[in-house]
């Protein structure tokens, strides 16, 4: 799997709208587990070319499943 270490991938909870109590918090939470690569969508905030190359290489240049080595 392509994977990238993300120093910014800290969990960010989002409070429910006003008036929501504890029960609502339990049922309506939207909390980030991982940000994925959404910052690349629309090429916004894609970072420098070298960072991008690193991500692309990590994502694309995988070892084949069937028989070969860990890349």
């Amino acid at each position: 799997m392509p994977r990238f270490k993300s120093p910014s991938a800290t969990p960010s909870g989002t409070a429910p709208p006003t008036g929501a109590g504890k029960e609502a918090a339990k049922t309506d939470l939207v909390i980030d587990i991982s940000e994925g690569v959404t910052e690349l969508l629309g090429l916004r905030g894609a970072g420098t070319v070298s960072q991008l190359k690193e991500i692309v290489a990590d994502c694309c240049l995988q070892a084949c499943d069937c028989c070969l080595q860990i890349s």
Binding site: M1, P2, R3, F4, K5, S6, A9, T10, P11, S12, G13, T14, P16, P17, K22, A25, K26, T27, D28, L29, V30, I31, D32, I33, S34, E35, G36, V37, T38, L40, L41, G42, L43, A46, V49, L52, K53, E54, I55, V56, A57, C59, C60, L61, Q62, A63, C64, D65, C66, C67, L68, Q69, I70
Partner: protein
């Protein structure tokens, strides 16, 4: 508004109040309320549920789980594909070259995918010196061209030496390995070897003498001795286990990176615990040079139709996850990289990021595989099959562009047969050889794998999220 069809909603088994939403295109994953999860489950690939309030719609929109329209999502996918494509080195993007020294082997494994390559019409002799010279000349020429165009990736090119069995104990194979090791040293390439490990110990002096040790050696061990020796059988009978273990120990002592591959099917899955214990007892898992991974046995070449132990569904992964839950220390020993859904969730649950897989493997990125008949392929598993051939390298280099395109067009974005599938960016359209050889796409049990994995890794991400999810106690 449009709810992405690439969202997977997983209800956590031990937490009735929460679900996971995981987008298989951009890899974002969130913990959400169960009610919200259930509502979204019914709306995938269509309009959001009417009951969804604007606040949560906005949160989901910001996180690309919901789009203004289907077209907006499709535009983003196309844009990211072209962004990635533009940053690949043209031609052989992985800069990987496989040298298939022979189709012969000193083992007769029960699930061998090359069994039809031995004997008969296929020549049972190793690559000649003249052929190997042609291989190395081709590599040098392509790499020089890459350097001129300043298109090289940060890592050096990789020569991957494979077979049959590339480390057979005879002069011709030793001469070939010497030549490859010296070429790697002179051209600053990496080189690796995929071996059954039987004669590995006999080659360590050669690596030392060449002044260039392999960057990686993969050895297959299918379980503890009694299981391994039933599966990976020496010619004429008898086991291979003890020699292999001896080779691994000696290789690690010589600081050679060794990766143990365990081919798993129903026949040996029960032996994983004992193999893990063996690895720990030998202290291999503590070595910085050691790694091990579990890989499902597959039959992309359709040569093992009567081999009853292969399961293409989620049976194997279910049994492995059950083992991990019983004996968590096994997870520290074995990676699961070939179980793509499981491995992806493992990474996400630890805060890592995962992107879409547009190219399944080196075969669709223009890798070159050189075989001892002078033929060229892009896929090692398909080598020797006429259908898979893309050209010749000996006596002269000739690549058939139409045949090559059969492989390189199999990226996830352009492969029309998978365009409607929600799981395509995880399984990446399955094995390309399966498609080229059998004309059908191999569908994997990704959804079940993801569900198993999110439940399995729940304690990991719930611990990490505890401060944010203050209203929730850890699992």
């Amino acid at each position: 508004m449009y709810v992405s069809k690439y969202n997977v909603i997983v209800n956590l088994r031990d937490r009735g109040d929460v679900s996971i939403i995981h987008n298989l295109f951009h890899g974002r994953a969130c913990l959400i309320g169960r009610d919200l999860g259930n509502a979204l489950k019914t709306a995938l690939g269509s309009e959001p549920p009417k009951s969804l309030n604007t606040h949560y719609l906005s949160l989901l929109r910001d996180r690309h789980f919901v789009y203004e329209s289907r077209e907006e999502e499709e535009d983003e996918i196309a844009e990211m594909f072209h962004l990635f494509q533009d940053h690949l080195t043209p031609g052989n993007a992985g800069r990987k070259y496989e040298i298939l020294l022979n189709y012969d082997c000193n083992l007769r494994c029960v699930y061998c995918f090359q069994k039809k390559m031995r004997g008969g019409a296929i020549k049972n002799f190793p690559m000649t010196e003249a052929q190997l010279d042609a291989v190395l000349k081709t590599v040098a020429t392509i790499e020089a061209r890459n350097a001129e165009g300043n298109r090289q990736a940060s890592e050096a090119a990789l020569l991957s030496v494979v077979g049959g069995e590339p480390l057979l104990p005879d002069v011709r194979h030793r001469t070939a390995l010497t030549k490859i090791a010296r070429f790697a040293a002179e051209h600053d390439c990496r080189y690796s070897i995929t071996t059954n490990g039987v004669a590995l110990i006999d080659y360590l002096d050669l690596f030392e003498a060449c002044g260039r040790k392999p960057n990686h050696v993969q050895v297959t061990v299918d379980g503890p001795r009694q299981i391994h020796d039933q599966r990976r059988i020496a010619i004429g009978g008898g086991g291979s286990f003890d020699r292999i273990v001896e080779g691994i120990e000696a290789g690690l002592s010589a600081n050679i990176p060794i990766g143990v591959r365990v081919n798993v099917d129903l026949m040996n899955v029960s032996g994983i615990t004992e193999l893990g214990a063996l690895i720990r007892s030998k202290g291999w898992d503590k070595s910085p040079h050691f790694s091990a991974y579990l890989a499902p046995v597959t039959d992309h070449s359709a040569v093992n139709k009567t081999y009853k132990w292969i399961k293409a569904d989620a049976t194997i992964i279910k049994q492995l996850v059950a083992l991990f839950e019983k004996e968590p220390e096994l997870e520290d020993v074995f990676r699961m990289k070939n179980f793509r859904g499981f491995d992806q969730v493992r990474e996400l649950s630890r805060g890592g990021r995962v992107g879409p897989v547009f190219w399944r493997c080196e075969a669709v990125l223009g890798q070159l595989v050189f075989d001892p008949s002078g033929d060229l392929y892009t896929c090692f598993e398909a080598a020797g099959r006429e259908k898979a051939k893309i050209g010749r390298y000996f006596p002269d280099l000739q690549i058939d562009a139409v045949r090559l395109r059969r492989w390189t067009s199999l990226n996830t974005f352009e492969n029309a047969s998978c365009s409607g599938c929600r799981f395509r960016f995880t399984c990446a359209s399955g094995c390309p050889w399966h498609i080229v050889g059998q004309g059908v796409t191999e569908c994997l049990p990704i959804e079940e794998e993801l569900e198993l994995a999110w439940n399995h890794f729940a304690p990991v991400f719930m611990r990490r999220l505890a401060p944010a999810a203050s209203g929730l106690a850890p699992c």
